[in-house]
């Protein structure tokens, strides 16, 4: 169970983004998890709930986008989804395929609240 360590890293990255963009708080964090990302969505959510409570923005919401495993065939260039970890091109049967999506735990978007300067009078 290494989700705690990866979610802590995620929260650190979000905090750096908040600082860089002058946000007062973080309201929403959107991540992508695929079948080969090495993390379990359920455990990521548990780790997030645990760790966000100790952060400076405990009300931030986590949105998990679960994506399928996608690949491109090196032989015929077909793109397809991989089911049950069968790394085989449905078009030409080649097993030389490159995974294009679903093998990472990705940070997609971060929603911040930022102070809005008062409109200066015309």
């Amino acid at each position: 169970m290494h989700e705690v360590s990866l979610v802590q890293s995620l929260l650190n990255q979000v905090e750096r983004l908040r600082e860089a963009h002058g946000g007062t708080t973080v309201t929403r964090i959107e991540v992508e998890i695929g079948p080969l990302s090495g993390v379990e969505p359920v455990l990521v959510r548990e780790a997030f709930d645990l760790l966000v409570a100790d952060s400076d923005w405990p009300a931030a919401e986590l949105v998990i986008d679960e994506v399928p495993l996608s690949a491109r065939c090196k032989q015929c260039d077909a793109t397809f989804n991989i089911e049950s970890f069968r790394f085989e091109c449905p078009q030409c049967g080649s097993r030389a395929v490159n995974v294009t999506r679903g093998d990472q735990f990705r940070l997609l978007n971060v929603t911040l609240e930022t102070p809005q300067p008062m409109e200066s009078p015309a």
């Binding site: 290494h2 990866l6 890293s9 970890f85 085989e88 911040l112 102070p115």
Partner: protein
């Protein structure tokens, strides 16, 4: 002052920074000619035994060192110490090794110009699959007592490995395990996997395994170590 909501698009691998650090450390290993092997398996599959057999086979003909990870104890390091420089990395409960632990272990090894550095990972086929330890080669060990249906259950580990080593082949007459089935199952996930069968206690298959390591190192670094090779067959 009012506030406004802004969504910042990031779209980046959470581990991008760690992967970059691993790539830099790998380059450093390559520059000093150290070929790094990350050995992964479930607990008790025979990682330490394979390293003992490898060290015995090579004797003094290769400069090798080992970093061995466990949750607790120095037991594996003590087993390997008669043969090679070794440092134990204890994680205190963490289920995988991280690059920072490897870098600390490197500082404690007596030299920095090994031809082969083996990292014996924590016994676990799940979490270590997601952590790049700056290795050149990831090898998954599977023992005959674990069952030949295991590769398909741990797809990330076998997808990210370059070789599978089936260990404890001396037990094959006593267990329902087919080496061919295990390798075929693993190659459904990663067709490019090299495959070896070994018995560390009898030495069976160790020569092929060691030849493969030499070959992979030479393929990556060039043939400047060829004259040191000792033919023991």
């Amino acid at each position: 002052m009012t506030t406004t909501t802004r969504t910042i698009p990031v779209n980046r691998d959470v581990q991008a920074h760690r992967k970059q650090q691993a790539a830099e450390q790998r380059d450093a290993f390559t520059r000093r000619g150290t070929f790094v092997v990350n050995l992964v398996s479930s607990p008790g599959a025979g990682k330490t035994s394979l390293l003992e057999a490898t060290a015995r086979y090579w004797g003094n003909s290769r400069r090798m060192a080992v970093l061995v990870g466990d949750l607790a104890t120095e037991r594996d390091a003590e087993r390997l110490r008669p043969y090679v420089p070794v440092e134990q990395l204890t994680t205190g409960g963490a289920c995988h090794l991280e690059l920072s632990l490897i870098q600390q272990g490197l500082q404690r090894l007596p030299d920095d110009d090994y031809e082969f550095l083996f990292i014996e990972n924590i016994g676990n086929l799940v979490c270590p699959a997601s952590h790049d330890l700056a290795e050149h080669l990831r090898v998954a060990l599977l023992s005959t007592t674990e069952g030949d249906d295991k590769p398909g259950k741990y797809p990330k580990m076998f997808r990210t490995s370059q070789a599978i080593v089936v260990s404890k082949t001396d037990l094959l007459p006593h267990v329902p395990f087919s080496v061919d089935a295990a390798v075929a199952d693993a190659r459904q996930i990663q067709p490019d996997l090299a495959a070896f069968s070994v018995c560390a206690s009898t030495g069976e298959g160790i020569a092929d395994w060691c030849r493969y390591l030499d070959h992979e190192r030479e393929r990556l670094f060039g043939s400047h170590m060829a004259e040191q090779k000792v033919d023991r067959t």
